[in-house]
Structure formats: structure tokens, C-alpha cells
């Protein structure tokens, strides 16, 4: 026993001194979403620039935000979603990008840059890494049987109680994320998805409460497996997650077919933004990393791997055809027009929305 402890301690010591030796090397500390990059990109970056990448992952914006706002996170590049980015910019968490060190910015997609400028005027602090939508994942065979036709589901399957009731026994999951579901409910009601008006929010609450009895679970990740295993019929979720579920179902060859649709009424479009914290220890290396990720062939490789659309127009020449032509990843231009961007709530409205959400989820 004690020998093992000594062995473990000495291993720790060796590891400690090794990292001390590396301290002389150039490094960049990256904090990104889990399962969000092809690891070979990081190796290629190190080969090309000699900068070592220390790559760490998170699975919720809240975790990232807590670390950023507490200060001295030690990270050089972080990837918050745009509405979080906006608030974090206001809090003073980021530094302005030095665009003279980012020549590859010319490859970016103006459609995306215009939309991200709503959060960050002039795109001074952040650049889009990937973007996606919040739509409906569905079990193709079961949905067809219940709806009685071949058409992809629309928001009616969630928000029209008499239709949703037909899916109840088969199972519906909703994201446990008020900032996704509440704006979508407002959109369905024909109201402004970004409304802060308390009457509008009240209407959204009533709609969601009427829908609640048909929902099996509110959760932000379990639907990936539940859809792939055929345990449920419908899930409102993030595009890339549902596409992962589609792949898992296909790999399992158990006869479950999953698909993703952006309903014709429209959907929320979200952007994950690369930014450099104000107290980043390796600013120079962070810029080199961002610039590398804006190389068309590099970010194309990432999109091929994660099934998310990126904000880089030039990369589309390098993305494999079945990803680029998949409307679930790159929606058609007429669908893109229907996508809305969600702007963050002020603290007071946020509190109202969180309270509304607790009522919807717990019934209290």
C-alpha cells in the first residue's frame, strides 16, 4: 500500500517538474465545448507554429461564465455562445481582438458576421467558431405513423396540445433551457422572440403550461441517447446534438432512424464565439490560434467532424459534400431568413424568465 502511495507521489513530482520544464515553451490554453473539434487540428497547429495547445472542455455556458467572472481563469481562448458573450463583454471579461494579427478574418461569412455584430458591434471581441439552430429531432418511423403523412414535423407537434398529446406516450423531451424554449414559444405565438414585455412572457408561460403535461422530461443532453435508442419520438434540441444522435442510431443498426428539422415557422439561431479573456496569459499565442482556426481547410475539417456549420465562407469549398448539402447542418437560404437571433435578457427579465421556467418545469 505505502509503496503504491510513494509511487503515485513520485509520478506526481515527475509530472510537476515536466510541466515546469514546458513553461519555457509557447503554449495556448483553450477552453471549448466538449466534443467540438477534431483533435488532429490541435496537433497540426502545434506542428506548424510550435505552440503547444492545452485543451480543456466544458459542457455549459454557465460553467464557463462562472470561471470568467470569478477572474484569472488562466485561459487564452474561450468559446461562449453569443448572448453570453455580450453580457461578458459588458462585465469586462474580454479584450479587443488585434485584427492586424488575424489576416484570415477575410475568410469569414458576412451573413454570420452581420448577425454576430448584434451581440458585439463591429465583431471587436469575438469571432464565430460554429453556429447552429434549435429545432426538432424526431424518430422518423414513429412520427410518420402518428402524423399519418410523410411531412417533417412543425412546431405544432410540440405547441399544439391536441397534436402533442398524440406523442405523449411515445415521449417528448424539451431542452431544460429557458433561453431556447421561451423565445421559440413566443415565435410560435407570432410574437417577437426577443420580447421582454411581461404580457408576452405571460402568454408564453400559458402556452408552455398547456404543453407541459405532454412532456416526459426537461433535460439538455439526455435526448441524444433517448432519440438514438428509440426511447422517445420527439426532442427539441440543438442541431449538432440531434445529428450526433442520428449518426449513433445509424451506427447501432437497430432500425431506429432519427432526423432533424428546422420547422417552417422558423427557429432560434445561435453562435458559439471564440474570444480572448482580458487577463489571458498568452495573448500572442491566442491570436495565432484564432487565425489558424480561420484557415478555410482547417475549419472545414472541424465542421466535417462535428456536423456544425461554421462562420467561414471560404471553408465551404473544403467541406465534404454531404455535410455542406445537408439542410440540417447548412439550412437553405430561405430557411436562414426565418432564423432569429436571441439577444440576452437584462437581469430583471432574466429573473422573470427563470421563475416562469421553474413554474413550467416543476409546476410550482
Amino acid at each position: 500500500m505505502s509503496r503504491k502511495i510513494v509511487a503515485a507521489l513520485s509520478a506526481l513530482l515527475v509530472a510537476g517538474s515536466a510541466s515546469f520544464a514546458f513553461a519555457q515553451e509557447r503554449v495556448v490554453n483553450v477552453y471549448n465545448w466538449s466534443d467540438y473539434i477534431d483533435a488532429s487540428i490541435l496537433e497540426d497547429f502545434t506542428k506548424e507554429t510550435g505552440i503547444k495547445v492545452v485543451y480543456d472542455v466544458f459542457d455549459s455556458n454557465e460553467i464557463l461564465e462562472t470561471k470568467l467572472l470569478a477572474g484569472s481563469s488562466g485561459y487564452d481562448v474561450v468559446v461562449p455562445t453569443a448572448d453570453f458573450l455580450q453580457r461578458q463583454i459588458q462585465a469586462g471579461a474580454f479584450q479587443k481582438l488585434d485584427k492586424s494579427k488575424l489576416p484570415n478574418i477575410s475568410n469569414m461569412w458576412d451573413m454570420v458576421m452581420e448577425r454576430t455584430a448584434q451581440y458585439d458591434p463591429g465583431n471587436e471581441y469575438g469571432l464565430d467558431y460554429m453556429w447552429g439552430t434549435t429545432g426538432i429531432g424526431y424518430n422518423v418511423a414513429k412520427t410518420k405513423a402518428i402524423l399519418g403523412n410523410d411531412e417533417a414535423p412543425t412546431w405544432d407537434v410540440i405547441f399544439k396540445p391536441e397534436i402533442a398529446a398524440k406523442f405523449k406516450d411515445c415521449g417528448i423531451y424539451l431542452l431544460d433551457s429557458p433561453t431556447d424554449i421561451v423565445p421559440t414559444a413566443l415565435l410560435y405565438l407570432g410574437l417577437d422572440p426577443n420580447s421582454h414585455n411581461s404580457d408576452d412572457l405571460k402568454k408564453a408561460e400559458e402556452l408552455l403550461l398547456s404543453v407541459r403535461p405532454n412532456i416526459r422530461k426537461f433535460h439538455s443532453s439526455e435526448y441524444i441517447n433517448a432519440l438514438a435508442n428509440g426511447d422517445i419520438c420527439l426532442a427539441v434540441g440543438w442541431s449538432g446534438d440531434i445529428l450526433q444522435s442520428r449518426d449513433r442510431a445509424a451506427e447501432a443498426k437497430a432500425g431506429v432512424e432519427v432526423n432533424y428539422v428546422v420547422p417552417p415557422q422558423g427557429a432560434k439561431m445561435w453562435f458559439d464565439m471564440m474570444a480572448i479573456p482580458g487577463d489571458a496569459p498568452h495573448v500572442e499565442e491566442a491570436h495565432a490560434f484564432l487565425n489558424y482556426l480561420m484557415k478555410p481547410e482547417v475549419i472545414a475539417k472541424a465542421s466535417d467532424y462535428v456536423f456544425y456549420a461554421n462562420g467561414n465562407k471560404a471553408s465551404q469549398a473544403f467541406i465534404s459534400k454531404d455535410v455542406l448539402d445537408d439542410p440540417a447542418v447548412y439550412p437553405k437560404p430561405e430557411t436562414i431568413e426565418k432564423l432569429f437571433s436571441f439577444l440576452p435578457y437584462d437581469p430583471k427579465t432574466q429573473r422573470v424568465v427563470t421563475r416562469l421556467w421553474t413554474k413550467v418545469v416543476t409546476g410550482q
Partner: protein, 303 residues
């Protein structure tokens, strides 16, 4: 060692636990308490007031003047918080009782077992800790889900013909808590029972007690310190439990851990979440203090 040296040594030994409490409990608590008296801001860190240390004492006094108890008043305005505290206490209470009912016979059997196999039994109780807590809770999802092991077993035995819905209900939370905290209940009860002098029960029986009344009047009473310690070790962490209700519970389960999470992460309101945490601490600490005082009084009277 000289007498003087050993006196210093004794002092040091006493200082260590107090220093530990000061550094890892009292100071963090005061930081949380101070945040609970402030208000949110879009800043780093996300609350006001931030002391202006450059201004010296006047900067600190300015900061203190901005403190307010508004966050505590807020907690009384929405029934959500009271309900969350209530349901957390209820769930923790039921779980503690269930754990006690299962742990006592185990501890009793262990204490009655021949001395040669006791170390093995003790090891078996601790064994689950060698696997990550999170993995063990995840395993319960696979056991309890409608098509999971437990339902398969019952279906095969013909006891039910429809799978029971256990996962995502409060029952799953009770099962998760009882399972996870069982060793914390078994060990103190076992150590109380193990030290007990068996001739006492024999004497009680010789004096006319039935075995059952001898158990209640002698064995159980003498094991009370272990029972109380075990109940506290289970109840206190169960009140603030977050992982088990999140993974095994349903959407409608309201517990204070989730409420805290919402305040801290969704509302980004560190001051209100600090107020929630402070009240939680008071709910737990004040009854324990009263209890210990009563205990100390009873002890001194008994002697």
C-alpha cells in the same frame, strides 16, 4: 521531551482543528455572507459593492454602507424558496429514516459476527467507495429505467405486468440517497454496537426482560450516539444534495440544490444564491447546536 515542550505540543494539537475550522469554514462563510448582503452587477465579480481598497478605511466603510438585507426579504416574497427548503428537508428526512432502517440491522449483524470476519465485513461496507460516486448513481439509471434490470426481474418473476415507473420520481431519489449514504450510517452504529458489553443484555434478560424489550431498552439506547451521528452524516449532506435529484429525479422535484443552481447560474445572481446558502446553513446548524447543548446537559446530569 521536556514538560515545557509537551505543553506547547498540546496547545498546537488543539489549535490545528480550530485553525482548520477558521480557514475552511468560518472565512468562506463570511465571504458568502458578505456577498448575500450585496446586489448583482454586470461586472467581474458580478456583484456590488466591491471594496475600494485604495481609499483605505473610508473605501471599506463606503462598501459596508451599501450592504442590505433585501435579498433575505426577497426569499420570503416568493413561496418557491420556502417550498424548496421544505421539500429538501422532507426528502432528506425520509431518506435518513429509510437509511437507518436498513443500516441498523446490517450494523447489528456485523457487531454480532465472529471477530475473525469483522474486518472483512467492514471492508465490504466500504468497498463501493472504490468506484466513483457518479458512476454508481448512473448505474441506478440503468437499473431503474422502465426497460431496466429491476423491471425486467419483476416482469420475469410475474410480479408485475407493466413496468413500474420509478426513474424520474421521488422514489428514485430515495433509493439513490439511501444507497449512496448507507456506509455513513452503518459505520458509526457499528462502532457503537461493537464497543457494547454483551453482559448488559444478558443481565437485562436475567432480570426478566424479553429479548425484544432487552434490545430496545439496552442495546438500542446504548447505540444512540452512533444512531445520532449516522443520521446527521446522512441528513445534512442529503438536504443540499444536487447530483442525485438531477440524475434520478423527475422535472417536478424541487430541491434547494437546484434552486441554488438556478440562482447562481441562470439568474447569475450571486447575492441571492448566497442568501439561499446562508439560510440553508442556519436551518442545519441551529437545530444541531440546540441538540448538542441538550445532549451535554443530559450527560452532565446523568453523571
Amino acid at each position: 521531551m521536556s514538560k515545557f515542550g509537551s505543553a506547547i505540543f498540546n496547545r498546537l494539537v488543539i489549535i490545528i482543528p480550530y485553525a482548520w475550522l477558521l480557514v475552511f469554514f468560518l472565512i468562506p462563510f463570511f465571504i458568502v455572507f458578505r456577498i448575500s448582503l450585496s446586489e448583482t452587477a454586470v461586472a467581474m465579480p458580478p456583484y456590488l459593492p466591491v471594496f475600494n481598497w485604495d481609499d483605505g478605511l473610508s473605501g471599506i466603510f463606503d462598501g459596508i454602507r451599501q450592504f442590505s438585507i433585501a435579498n433575505y426579504l426577497w426569499l420570503t416574497e416568493d413561496s418557491l424558496y420556502i417550498n424548496a427548503y421544505g421539500s429538501s428537508l422532507w426528502i432528506a428526512g425520509v431518506s435518513t429514516l429509510l437509511t437507518l432502517m436498513i443500516a441498523y440491522p446490517i450494523a447489528y449483524a456485523m457487531a454480532q459476527a465472529p471477530g475473525s470476519i469483522r474486518p472483512t465485513l467492514l471492508m465490504l461496507v466500504i468497498l463501493p467507495f472504490w468506484t466513483s460516486f457518479l458512476i454508481r448513481v448512473y448505474a441506478w439509471i440503468a437499473i431503474l429505467k422502465p426497460e431496466g434490470l429491476f423491471n425486467q426481474l419483476l416482469l420475469t418473476l410475474g410480479l408485475i405486468d407493466q413496468p413500474l415507473i420509478i426513474l424520474n420520481t421521488n422514489w428514485a431519489i430515495y433509493i439513490g440517497i439511501v444507497y449512496s449514504y448507507l456506509p455513513f450510517m452503518v459505520l458509526p452504529i457499528y462502532s457503537a454496537l461493537e464497543k457494547m458489553d454483551h453482559s448488559l443484555t444478558e443481565a437485562a434478560q436475567d432480570l426478566g426482560c424479553t429479548p425484544i424489550s432487552a434490545f430496545w431498552q439496552v442495546t438500542f439506547r446504548l447505540s444512540m450516539p452512533g444512531v445520532i451521528a449516522g443520521c446527521m452524516l446522512v441528513f445534512i449532506p442529503a438536504v443540499g444534495e444536487f447530483v442525485i435529484p438531477d440524475l434520478l429525479g423527475g422535472s417536478e422535484t424541487l430541491m434547494i440544490g437546484k434552486t441554488l443552481w438556478n440562482e447562481f447560474n441562470a439568474n447569475r445572481d450571486w447575492p441571492v444564491s448566497s442568501a439561499v446558502a446562508t439560510i440553508l446553513l442556519l436551518i442545519l446548524v441551529v437545530p444541531i447546536m440546540f441538540f448538542q447543548q441538550a445532549q451535554a446537559k443530559a450527560d452532565s446530569e446523568g453523571r
